[in-house]
Amino acid sequence: MQLLYFSDVSTKLFLSASSCSTMKSLCHGPFIAASAPVGRRAFGGHLTTKSFHKQLHFRSRCVVFSSFSCSATLSVVPELEEKLVFDGEEANLLVRELRKNFDSGRTKSYEWRVSQLEAINKMLEEKEKEITEALYEDLAKPQFEAFIAEISQAKSSCDEALKELKDWMKPEKVNTSITTFPSSAEIVPEPLGVVLVISTWNFPFLLSMDPVIGAISAGNAVVLKPSEIAPATSSLLVNLIQQYLDSSAIRVVEGAVPETTALLEQKWDKILYTGSARVGRIVMAAAAKHLTPVILELGGKCPAVVESDVNLQVTARRIIAGKWACNSGQACISIDYIITRKEFAPKLISALKEELEQFFGKDPMESKDMSRIVSPNQFARLVKLLDEDKVSDKVVLGGQRDEKKLKIAPTIILDVPEDALVMQEEIFGPILPIITVDNIENCYSIIKSKPKPLAAYLFTNNEQLKKDYVDKISSGGMLINDAIIHVATRGLPFGGVEESGMGCYHGKFSFDSFSHRKSVLYRSFDADSSIRYPPYTPEKEKLLKALISGNILQIILALFGWS
């Protein structure tokens, strides 16, 4: 699928939305759009944005499927119903309404923000079961994972915001220099306005709610577009947010490419998008039209370098926690591949084998503790990675798959060639390539030959190696001797660099990302020195130079005309 397809296809879908094949494309299109791995293909952003215009004056009644079934295990049968399509005009009305409510100032008050955050907390408490069930339906996500990786994270984010909000909202006093003396200054955070959050399917609850919590904390009106690839969670979010939150300022729009396209045509004050680099580009190109700042949370191939001096059992467990026990590797920060010493690889593999069996049993395909693959399309993509000629004979563990259940066993492949697909694109699944090197320092050139990842991991006790790794590798975040858990670390920004994205959030960083930091300088009318004003004289120039240099002695000299 071409990149330009994203917007072009959506226009076509609108026109022919009653045919049966549409259902297929609706499932297919958004899948490619929302979950395709990092693509490095260049494309002309201007062409894409142009095609957005096509939909602006287009509105019609047509038949759509109210619930999309993209997964073979789901029993939901798509039902046909007459429904008004969410198009550009509809989106425009929505944004206008929210803007009106934002302008009224209601979302700016501390009380409003707190009431919404408390409502989210209440929702998390009361609806834990429903959320867990939806996640199970979408991804067969074990309840345990649903709790630790999504619900509790959202809760912790909400709690932190509630606890810190007063502090975050306080203007920050800053010192002023002699150049502007006498004066006082502060930095006042103010909400940006109406913001859009486009979420994704792998952590469909957390990656929807976490940015929304940030947007609300900062006092914005917000529209959330959850992923249509996780339909149960998406429709649950519609219900929950409607039920618990102030719908005059917080809304959910469900849908796929056409709806997203309609939303992206609008003028937003910030867009936070989580997903692939390919769609990230489309989002940014649409944002450029309105000069909207964007946060792009993308992915990339996150490496884990394993030195031989580690505690083998703990390392193996943490690798498993960072790969298979993390949504079956369907996470933007999950370990994508491992680099280790040639002689150490067999030890590592056997430790992984042993721990995997401890965790998921003798037959991992039967384990209830591992999420399934989200959709048949993703499943097919992963199978293709595995079945490539250069790869299929490198499998040292796993490889089993069950198309009906959309399950793939924890799979390790050893020393696949660099040009194999599995080493070229983000894997986003339970396949783990292990690349061996003679010298651990060779990891730098391998990692650097790829776009900067969202996370980079290192397992070692060697302090020098740790230091070098931190210095030499550029990645969104970095975690030494563990995986994944750095994103749950308070006080740290979460965000990528280069192909893994731009901007960051979590905690105070979320608040900052959804705020404008306004500089406010207070001056008094007293102590007005004439040197700033024409007519300009040589004496004034001298004093000015002294003032700017901040050298008190020089200032005195100049004031008295002695220098």
Binding site: S177, R532, K545
Partner: protein
């Protein structure tokens, strides 16, 4: 040629040289030496390009830059150091920090109105943050552009910092390359082009644009206050590159009853500051080029706008000089009130009540700066909370540009991203989150197979419930009903 230069830069960056504190320091010192040694040349170039008086040149460009450089040199070590982050409960034997790292090879596209200041201010940030950088000065200020290309480069490491001259075509070519950051100062129109080009390589951008910056003047009772206000308005309009500044006052809002007093004083002080013949006194910059001259001329062409001119209005096309001009209540739909003026024309809009200015400002795109001259603290508070702009300055104008501790940047149509002082360093850095763990503590309940007990342990530990944690560990706490009814 360009490709080779860029390869040089990328190589320099990849070699790790630009990351070294010593390299950054030497380049910052090089920049400072350039400003010291070449002060006369810079002033001459600014005179040639814009007719900028040397005091203005020093006040707004050279001096401000030296101040920034001094700050950067003094603070570099501190800026470069990692910041520790506080850690939560589960994190025994863990440390976390935020490590600032350079982004890579960055592009700075500068503007013609402060051709030295707006080129070097971001460059200082880029260099302090350890990036390799290309500076593209504006071709509309050719003397400054060529001074930077020929002279500045002799003070700097040319494998790590390059100045590339050129116009739209060269900019277009530059924009097609892969950058790790693009810093652009200019118009919203070109800002959109820059951001669209940045999409290709997912390059983050900082856009420093402009907008119509209003100055709200309350009916001040003390004559000292109003005189100071008037002086500050004049300098922020006519005395700052003849109003060709993104933070220059664009128009004034004042109560109807106070307008005539204000106008009378502005006239008086224009005369005091610039003399009977401002053009002769050489204290006002000229218009940068013919194109902008005729743009400004056209702003006044409308019959109704022309009628609103109550002072000045004379134009010398040959010398590209426009006299300080005051307009009172030009039609609001006229171009002079819908476009950024960027020249020495000052519309004064009268309102019934000064509080009406809030609505007036909110009806228009968010400006880069808002100036409010008032002693009324309620009005001050309302201005801060009820309007949105890049910055707000009370009882003065332009000066916020010189405050290193304040971020400088716009919002909405006036741009995004910010710089100055430490903010420049941050703009050109990636803040990498780094967590270090030890192998010694490992909680078994982090790993599958998942059991009720493990889930409970996590629930209590994520809820910071240490007592609960103890109880569960001792087997004294019963599972919650959600856990039982779930999909275990």
């Amino acid at each position: 040629m360009m490709e080779r230069d860029l390869n040089d830069l990328r190589e320099s960056y990849e070699s790790g040289k630009t990351k070294e504190a010593s390299w950054r320091e030497s380049q910052l010192k090089g920049l400072r030496r350039f400003l010291m040694d070449k002060q006369q040349d810079i002033m001459q170039a600014l005179m040639q390009d814009l007719g900028k008086h040397q005091i203005e040149a020093f006040r707004d460009e050279i001096g401000t830059l030296i101040k920034t450089l001094n700050l950067a040199l003094k603070s570099l070590k501190d800026w470069m150091s990692s910041k520790k982050a506080a850690l939560p409960q589960l994190a025994l034997l863990t440390s976390a920090e935020i490590v600032p790292q350079p982004l890579g090879v960055v592009l700075i596209i500068s503007s013609w109105n402060f051709p030295i200041g707006l080129s070097l201010e971001p460059l200082i940030g880029a260099v302090a943050a350890g990036n390799a950088a290309v500076l593209k000065p504006s071709e509309l200020s050719p003397a400054c552009s060529s001074l930077l290309a020929s002279s500045l480069t002799t003070y700097l490491d040319n494998k790590g910092i390059k100045v590339m001259e050129g116009g739209a075509e060269e900019s277009q070519q530059l924009l097609e390359q892969r950058w790790d950051k693009i810093f652009f100062t200019g118009s919203a129109r070109v800002g959109r082009i820059v951001m669209s080009a940045a999409v290709k390589h997912l390059t983050p951008v900082t856009l420093e644009l402009g907008g119509k910056c209003p100055a709200v003047v309350d009916s001040l009772s003390s004559s000292w206050d109003i005189e100071v206000t008037v002086k500050r308005i004049i300098v922020a309009k006519y005395g700052t590159c003849a109003g060709q500044a993104c933070i220059a006052i664009d128009y004034v809002l004042v109560e109807k009853g106070y307008c005539s007093k204000l106008v009378q004083l502005i006239k008086l002080y224009i005369n005091k500051m610039f003399g009977d013949n401002p053009q002769k006194s050489k204290t006002i910059s000229r218009i940068v080029n013919k194109h902008h001259f005729s743009r400004l001329k056209n702003l006044l062409a409308d019959e109704k706008v022309k009628e609103s001119v109550i002072y000045g209005g004379s134009m010398d096309q040959d010398n590209l000089f426009i006299e300080p001009t005051i307009l009172v209540d030009p039609p609001l739909e006229a171009a002079v009130m819908s476009e950024e003026i960027f020249g020495p024309l000052l519309p004064i809009i009268t309102l019934e009540k000064i509080e009406d200015s809030i609505k007036f400002i909110n009806c228009r795109p968010k400006p880069l700066a808002l100036y409010v001259f008032t002693k009324n603290q309620t009005l001050q508070r309302r201005m801060i909370s009820e309007t949105s702009s890049g910055s707000v300055t009370f009882n003065d104008a332009i000066l916020q540009y010189a405050a290193d501790t304040l971020p400088f940047g716009g919002v909405g149509e006036s741009g995004f991203g910010m710089y100055h002082g430490k903010f420049s360093f941050d703009t050109f850095s990636h803040h990498k989150a780094v967590v270090r763990r030890s192998f010694l503590t490992d909680f078994w309940y982090r790993y599958p197979p998942w059991t009720l007990n493990k889930l409970q342990l996590l629930q209590v530990s994520y809820n910071y419930d240490y007592l609960g944690l103890l109880l569960v560990l001792l087997g004294l706490k019963r599972p919650s009903k959600h856990v039982i009814s779930g999909h275990m």
